[in-house]
């Protein structure tokens, strides 16, 4: 499949509920069939998909059981907390200072709740697997975001928090180490801090200061990592696959995303329109519901005309997207994927979708 040609990393993005995880797993199956050593990194797979991949109850990288592919298929669920902690432990130079960070109450919030931290850990895990060179191809399923673009913006937002300015500001709010610029900054800073303090209390400011003192040592590492990850993401060997679903708002979002992703210098190879039409529907055939069963025919016609309307939206979307990426359609299978056979079935539909595109 041309999607995998010269590709080392394939990032599946899309807003919540579009079937990213399943598509990511099916693409990985396809690549394994072609003879590649593939790893699929998932976020929160359905129970049966996790069972299928052999990763239920474990977060280690696992060889998918029962496979008979030309290549090899591995899978893993990303453990956000552990990935974040590992990163901190590696970045902190001494064990006790890592422990200090783990104990900070704001860190506890940060590593689990902070907006953007799941995106950060997903990329961190992806990068460390990529760096290890153990796989020909890594397929990344991304965390559920409201909008597809949120995934790419999140890590930058997070690293902005840790840039030297922010941290310094909280560590040394009085600008004691200042000098000329320190003094200039000081007046404004003091006022801003006063406002923050009147809104939040001195307790909060102290917690923050403590937090920033503790993370001082992993700032440099975080910045360097952000640059490495970005380099990997814009490399021509990294392809994005946008998964989108059936409704007008989602299609509009997909158009917006494809423009933004191009602007950012990333490579959008494929757009997958998932669960587009139920498999029974062939809009090209003349409607022939047969005789009798009035009520059933009514529902059939209703659904058919509903999908017919939607088909027009899709055609517009496809012709608009044509120059930017290949657009595949995948029908709605209705049943849940419960074994490797199901994933292979879906991957066959992807191949079919590619041929039609």
């Amino acid at each position: 499949m041309s999607l995998f040609k010269d590709t080392k990393v394939l990032v599946c993005v899309g807003s919540g509920g579009v079937g990213k995880t399943t598509i990511a797993a099916s693409l990985a199956v396809l690549a394994a069939k072609e003879g590649k050593r593939v790893l699929v990194l998932t976020i929160d797979p359905a129970k049966r998909l996790a069972q299928t991949l052999g990763i239920e109850g474990t977060k280690d990288i696992t060889k998918v059981p029962g496979q008979n592919f030309k290549g090899e298929l591995y899978a893993s669920v990303i453990d956000h907390k552990k990935t974040f902690d590992d990163f901190v432990a590696r970045a902190a130079k001494k064990t006790e200072s890592a422990q200090k960070i783990f104990n900070n109450s704001l860190y506890k919030q940060l590593s689990t709740n902070l907006s953007g931290s799941q995106e950060f850990t997903a990329l961190e895990k992806l990068y460390s697997c990529y760096e290890s060179g153990q796989f020909d191809l890594i397929v990344l399923d991304t965390p559920p975001t409201k909008h597809a673009i949120d995934f790419l913006n999140a890590p930058q937002k997070l690293s902005a928090l840790f840039n030297e300015g922010v941290a310094k500001w909280f560590r040394d709010p009085e600008g004691k180490k200042g000098g000329f610029f320190g003094h200039l900054l000081q007046t404004g800073t003091r006022q801003v801090l006063k406002v923050l303090e009147s809104l939040t209390g001195s307790n909060f400011i102290r917690e923050l200061g403590d937090f920033f003192v503790n993370i001082e040592q992993w700032q440099g590492k975080l910045q360097a990592r952000t640059i490495d990850v970005h380099r990997m993401l814009v490399a021509p060997t990294t392809q994005f696959c946008l998964v989108t679903a059936f409704d007008q708002a989602k299609l509009k979002e997909a158009e917006y995303f494809s423009r933004e992703i191009k602007k950012g210098g990333y490579h959008l190879g494929t757009v997958v329109l998932n669960r587009v039409f139920p498999y029974w529907l062939d809009l090209r055939s003349a409607q022939d519901p047969g005789k009798g069963h009035e009520d059933l025919v009514k529902l059939y016609s209703q659904m058919r005309s509903y999908y017919n309307q939607r088909d027009q939206l899709y055609q517009q979307f496809e012709s608009g997207m044509k120059n930017q990426a290949r657009v595949f359609r995948i029908p709605d299978l209705v049943k849940d994927i419960s074994d490797l056979g199901g994933l292979e079935e879906l991957s066959a539909l992807i191949v079919e979708g590619e041929k039609k595109a």
Binding site: G16, G17, L110, K157, V195, G201, E207, H293, M303
Partner: protein, 289 residues
């Protein structure tokens, strides 16, 4: 009149925005001055209802019904300006590059600001929010829990001062079933239902609140199961459709049965084939309790 607050959540793609709009419409039809709130920086309803403008300040979209789009940052700005009063100081505060970066990602701060504003009426704190009913089209499940946990997390991290005090007050209000109601939307499918069930359990265990479960897009079987079986054996487009419908309804029944044990309140919303947004929302509002 006491203000009521509704949170509508569920896995991405289950139709929670339409459900939230339907609930808000229903409340407005009952004569309550209602505000439908979207969270984030992009409005879904702007395109959906084809509106000229949706922003932080509520705009009227129907009689008794207004719509607003709130980000954590905007809520925080408004809150701060309410208390700082001196505009030049407020400006300095929010235009400070450090503050900007910090507000965007600070652990729990945007979440706290949003919940602070949502509950400002019953708490009688902050700028006035003159509505009888607030319906929040909230984040999808995972982020929703993070949203609700923010006040408690912040209260633990910062025990003293206004921040700690406000956090505790917000936390107490979101746990008060007289004030806040929770609605979890799902589809009759495995993954959304699993997420809904986990969320309902967490809401019960961690917050002591009972959430309504709404199963959306249910297909009403037009004929008996037996007829569906018979039609399948014929050779026409309809037989393929009957096979699909048969499978779908079986699975749907299974999911519906599973849903019964999850919440004392389970609501069924049919699948509507409506291309007009308002027609869809009106129909949906009719079946809500």
């Amino acid at each position: 009149m006491k203000q009521e607050i509704h949170f509508v959540t569920g896995k991405g793609g289950v139709g929670k925005s339409v459900l939230a709009a339907a609930l808000a419409l229903k409340k407005s039809q009952e004569g309550k001055k209602t505000l439908l709130v979207e969270l984030g920086d992009q409005s879904f309803f702007k395109d959906f209802f084809n509106l000229p403008q949706v922003g932080f300040q509520p705009v009227s979209i129907r009689p008794n019904l207004s719509l607003a789009l709130w980000t954590g940052e905007a809520c925080l700005q408004e809150y701060a300006r309410h208390f700082i009063k001196v505009e030049s100081l407020a400006k300095l505060f929010f235009e400070n590059a450090v503050m900007k970066a910090f507000i965007n990602v600070a652990p729990a701060l945007p979440e706290l600001a949003i919940l602070g504003k949502v509950t400002s009426g019953p708490r009688k704190h902050g700028p006035a929010l003159p509505f009888d009913c607030i319906v929040v089209d909230a984040f999808a499940t995972g982020h929703f829990i993070a949203l609700l946990e923010a006040p408690k997390g912040m209260a633990e991290a910062v025990q003293f001062g206004p921040m700690g005090e406000q956090s505790r007050s917000i936390d107490a209000h979101i746990r008060n079933p007289e004030i806040c109601k929770y609605h979890v939307v799902t589809l009759p499918e495995e993954l959304p239902l699993k997420e809904a069930s986990e969320l309902i359990a967490r809401l019960k265990n961690e917050f002591g609140v009972t959430a309504e479960l709404i199963m959306n897009k249910m297909i009403e079987a037009p004929v008996s199961e037996q007829t569906l079986q018979e039609v399948q054996s014929e050779n026409s487009d309809l037989s393929k459709f009957a096979e699909y419908l048969d499978g779908h309804i079986r699975r749907q029944n299974q999911m519906w049965a599973q849903a019964q044990g999850l919440s004392p309140e389970v609501t069924r919303v049919p699948l509507y084939f409506e291309s007009s947004a308002w027609a869809l929302v009106e129909k949906t509002a009719e079946v809500l309790k």
